[in-house]
């Protein structure tokens, strides 16, 4: 009589799923000892294929710019170092942009990929962000001129600024359409979701500075002062662009007066 097979061990099974060189884990197989390599490989392939597919769904522009084979190789290396920790696929790839910043082939040949990945990750977060009403620009007209500088806005949950040294908006669009683009930047972008569709709006440095300050809860006065150093800055135009893109969910209530 044969010795009983070693007991199944989920840790060994799990480890072998992620390691293509690992032998079929103990306990897997019929008692007749038939070969299980091909069978176990079905699970290994399912795991790798499903995660790479999910990453390509989240980062289609990066995949398009890098080419599918190079993208797949990079994703496999990334996943080996950062296996997914959430059962929600929309959480996948949070630190993929940082990985691309460090990944030598990307850093040397396509240093803009990390920025495009940040923009695509922000796109997905905006897609799933909480619903909120949009600030009606007419509301600004109700604020007295002397109070305007003290005004703060409520950031819309979907609104985010992504900054890069490269032209990430143009690159993302090209990558998603399977084309090449001139990477020369800089490129900042406002990602927002004014209704149900995500918008990506390229911003010049002054508008990006204004947006970043306002989304962080700064007053309009402070934000405008910060942005004022830029030669082409026009407060009305930049603010109009942010309002049209749905960056704000409302005007923040004034702080409680002190000493009451």
């Amino acid at each position: 009589m044969q010795a009983p097979d070693p007991a199944w061990n989920s840790a060994a099974f799990a480890a072998a799923l992620l390691d293509p060189q690992a032998p079929v884990p103990a306990g897997v197989g019929r008692t007749d000892g038939s070969a299980m390599e091909r069978r176990f490989a079905v699970y290994r392939n399912n795991v790798a294929h499903s995660l790479v597919t999910a990453m390509a769904d989240i980062f289609p522009g990066v995949a398009g710019l890098a080419g599918r084979d190079r993208f797949t190789d990079a994703v496999r290396l990334y996943l080996a170092g950062s296996p997914p920790g959430s059962p929600i696929l929309a959480e996948l790839g949070r630190d993929f942009p940082d990985f691309l910043d460090r990944f030598p082939p990307a850093r040397q040949q396509m240093p803009w990929l990390a920025g495009v990945a940040r923009l695509e990750r922000a796109w997905l977060d905006a897609w799933h962000a909480a619903d909120a009403p949009l600030l009606d620009p007419a509301q600004l007209a109700t604020i007295s001129p002397e109070q305007l500088a003290q005004t703060r806005f409520l950031a819309h949950p979907a609104a985010m600024i992504v900054r890069s040294d490269f032209a990430i908006v143009r690159l993302l669009e090209a990558g998603r359409n399977g084309q090449a683009a001139d990477p020369a930047g800089p490129g900042c972008a406002l990602v927002s979701r004014p209704h149900l569709a995500v918008m990506i709006e390229p911003l010049d440095a002054a508008a990006a500075g204004l947006a970043r300050c306002l989304l962080a809860g700064g007053t309009l006065g402070t934000a405008a002062e910060d942005a004022d150093g830029h030669p082409d800055f026009e407060l009305g135009r930049s603010l109009g662009l942010l309002l049209a893109a749905g960056a704000f969910a409302g005007i923040a209530p004034p702080p409680e007066p002190e000493g009451r």
């Binding site: 009983p4 097979d5 007991a7 199944w8 989920s10 840790a11 099974f13 799990a14 799923l17 992620l18 306990g27 897997v28 197989g29 019929r30 008692t31 038939s34 070969a35 299980m36 390599e37 091909r38 069978r39 176990f40 079905v42 699970y43 399912n46 795991v47 499903s50 995660l51 999910a54 296996p83 997914p84 920790g85 959430s86 059962p87 929600i88 696929l89 929309a90 959480e91 977060d125 905006a126 897609w127 799933h128 962000a129 909480a130 619903d131 949950p157 979907a158 979701r193 149900l196 569709a197």
Partner: protein, 304 residues
């Protein structure tokens, strides 16, 4: 961001759409405009719960539009009920919030695991059937049913390997989980056909032992046919094509026994245009209607 229960807006009141006797289809967001324009009557839709765990936006707008008009089945694919660690409390809370919000007609999960040691594998992985795994599965089903305050349907898996230490038949294991937890079963007939082919048993033998009286939903789907190292067929549960004729035949036999049961055609990859998926669900509905007729006539004869 994952949605936390307190983020949920006040629960809307959706109409009460009964699911009994209906065929349904996987809901794919790209089909929403076609479904709303087509406004087909008398079917239900199933969604993967994990795709609706964001805070807002289009996914929830689409699901709300579907739930307003149709019965919805909430199908979890990542609870890892067959895992050896405890269930993820955050995930359970998100799942419970979805159940509370959308009031689905059916709620189901898998006899499988997908998370181990904090890593999510995004696949339905197999487990041996032993007294130890039985206890854990029952604990997990109990915990999930407590969290959502209703019974779940547990689905039989498609598998590619068996385990030397399994000392329960899969059908007996499932029957025992039902007995101990009070859950129901989701009978995936494609999974039965895939596992039977891969492990060399007759699908009808398995179905003959399956506790059919506890089945609350049936799944049908397409599979891929590959070849194993020894030249025998190796079937893969791909959900990327029409339901195989052999699976339709088994289905007709089963609903002839059980009477009509809510039946879902799953299609998750290489998703076709809506009319193709609708036609697959229509084929299931035609068989359900036949079975309903035969079943009623049988009852009438029995009571005559």
């Amino acid at each position: 961001m994952p949605r936390s229960p307190q983020d949920m807006a006040a629960r809307p009141s959706f109409p009460d759409h009964p699911v009994a006797g209906l065929a349904g289809a996987s809901f794919k967001p790209q089909h929403l405009p076609a479904i709303l324009a087509d406004a087909p009557a008398g079917l239900f839709f199933e969604v993967h719960a994990e795709n609706y765990m964001g805070a807002g936006g289009m996914p929830h707008a689409a699901l709300a539009a579907i739930r307003e008009r149709y019965p919805v089945s909430l199908h979890g694919v990542a609870m890892s009920i067959g895992g050896d660690g405890p269930l993820d409390g955050d995930h359970l809370a998100r799942f419970a919030a979805l159940v509370d919000h959308y009031q689905p007609a059916l709620v189901s999960e898998h006899l499988a695991w997908s998370t181990h040691g904090g890593t999510f594998f995004n696949d339905l992985l197999p487990l041996p059937y032993t007294n130890g795994t039985l206890e854990r599965v029952c604990e997990h089903v109990d915990r999930m049913q407590q969290a959502i305050a209703r019974p779940i349907l547990l689905e039989n898996p498609a598998t590619y390997v068996l385990f030397a230490e399994s000392d329960w038949e899969e059908t007996a294991f499932l029957a025992e989980v039902v007995r101990r937890t009070g859950c129901g079963l989701l009978l995936d007939i494609n999974n039965v056909f895939v596992s039977a082919t891969n492990h060399g048993f007759a699908p009808m033998t398995y179905l003959g032992r399956f506790p059919l009286e506890h089945v609350g939903e049936i799944h049908l789907a397409g599979h891929d046919r590959q070849v194993d190292d020894d030249g025998t067929p190796l079937l893969i549960d791909t959900h990327d094509r029409p339901v195989d004729d052999a699976v339709w035949d088994l289905y007709r036999t089963i609903i002839g026994q059980t009477g009509p049961l809510p039946t879902l055609v799953e299609w998750d990859a290489e998703v076709p245009e809506w009319p193709v998926l609708k036609a697959e669900a229509g084929q299931a509905q035609a068989m359900l209607d036949d079975a309903a007729m035969t079943f009623l006539m049988g009852k009438r004869h029995a009571s005559a």
